[in-house]
């Protein structure tokens, strides 16, 4: 899943529409043949910002499209970039608008997720996505406990047990935790219950959910996020519990620990937002005040 996403990060730079962009690309490709003049500061993944305004418009079928100046945004697969609801379109437009001078695709998480959902590069259907997501249950972070040091054991008990209890109660399943290297034994009924529950989400939400699960390395924490039991900061903290424990013991290294933490938060927040916006539908019922 992730390699597919990374591949498409690279392809985005080639499949964007404008002609002027293509000329810049060709020049870069031309001089890579010349070893002496290798360019260090402008790899092929960095493109200049070639537009000024970003707007959204509603196209056919009620789907929203993003316009960069006058040109319509397209996915790396060449399809027109369409989004089912307005809030997501606005968020993606804000991402494109936030770019300055160069386009940094690795910060545009929502765009990447939309591209994956639209192109479906690995051609998976709903069941395959659900199976891939539930496979993480057998190696769920929250279920793997250590036996020493005692501080970490205590921390895991206090932080992870409540989440496990919550999910077991909410979905009426048995998961349990384990001290062995083989991990917990997940009964089939648990997996079936989750499968049933996940079937009720649409494909876009499932893609977002699978992304969150692969970032947090835990199905339990991701479901806690989706059900709004945890905030993103809490979920990321719980996912990195051992790291945080070691940081408290040995000290924090800003360029590694904070860097990783913010990146994980950004990706998880993007995935969660993607799931919320793809699965909710809002209706406004106005009550008439009787005077």
């Amino acid at each position: 899943m992730l390699p597919g996403l990374c591949r498409f990060h690279g392809l985005v730079s080639r499949a964007l529409v404008p002609l002027a962009g293509r000329q810049v690309e060709l020049k870069l490709l031309g001089c890579s043949a010349n070893v002496q003049r290798a360019r260090y500061a402008t790899p092929a993944t960095e493109r200049k910002k070639f537009y000024r305004d970003v707007t959204i418009s509603q196209g056919e079928g009620g789907l929203y499209e993003i316009n960069l100046d006058r040109r319509k945004l397209k996915t790396p697969g060449g399809k027109l970039f369409t989004v089912p609801n307005e809030a997501l379109a606005i968020a993606v437009a804000t991402e494109w608008d936030a770019q300055k001078d160069t386009l940094k695709f690795y910060t545009m998480h929502l765009t990447t997720l939309c591209n994956t959902a639209l192109d479906n590069p690995t051609q998976r259907d709903k069941d395959q996505i659900i199976s891939a997501a539930l496979k993480f249950l057998e190696t769920d972070t929250v279920c793997y406990r250590v036996e020493e040091p005692p501080g970490l054991v205590e921390l895991q008990k206090n932080e992870w047990d409540p989440v496990l209890e919550w999910i077991e109660k909410r979905y009426n399943v048995v998961i349990g935790s384990s001290y062995s290297i083989m991990g917990p034994q997940i009964p089939e009924e648990t997996k079936d219950t989750f499968r049933q529950h996940l079937k009720s989400y649409n494909v876009w939400s499932l893609i977002g959910l699978e992304y969150v699960i692969s970032q947090l390395k835990s199905v339990v924490l991701s479901l806690g996020l989706i059900d709004r039991h945890l905030t993103v900061e809490q979920a990321v903290l719980l996912s990195r519990l051992e790291e945080e424990y070691q940081i408290q013991h040995w000290g924090n290294v800003e360029w590694a620990h904070d860097y990783d933490m913010y990146e994980l938060r950004a990706r998880t927040a993007a995935g969660t937002l993607f799931v919320y916006l793809s699965s909710e539908s809002a209706t406004v019922k106005k009550k008439i005040l009787q005077d």
Binding site: N34, Y40, T107, R228, W255, D258, Y262, A266, A269, L273
Partner: protein
Amino acid sequence: MAGVRALGVYRGVLKELRNLQGSEYTHSMAYTHLREQFRSNQVTGERYCRAKKEALHTCQVYLCLLESTRLHMNLHQLYHGRGERGPEEVAQLVGLRMPTQPGGKGWEE
């Protein structure tokens, strides 16, 4: 109490938007949409409004997204942004100069 938290989240997102878009952030779509969402979710006849809490949670997630992308970018610029040095600079570091050949080498431009 929910009101105080809502205000914090709202102001947080506005600050992030202002950071991204400069002083005309009030004309952006995100600002308009956000304001609409907050206004429309304020008034409700229910005592426990699930939709209000859901909207607030969604907004909090968006705030986390904007804030962490910004901080991640800052750290990247600070620590990982410089890239490699060119061969000229590397040579100068140890006090040497790049060799030059009048007329250039055969395969150079």
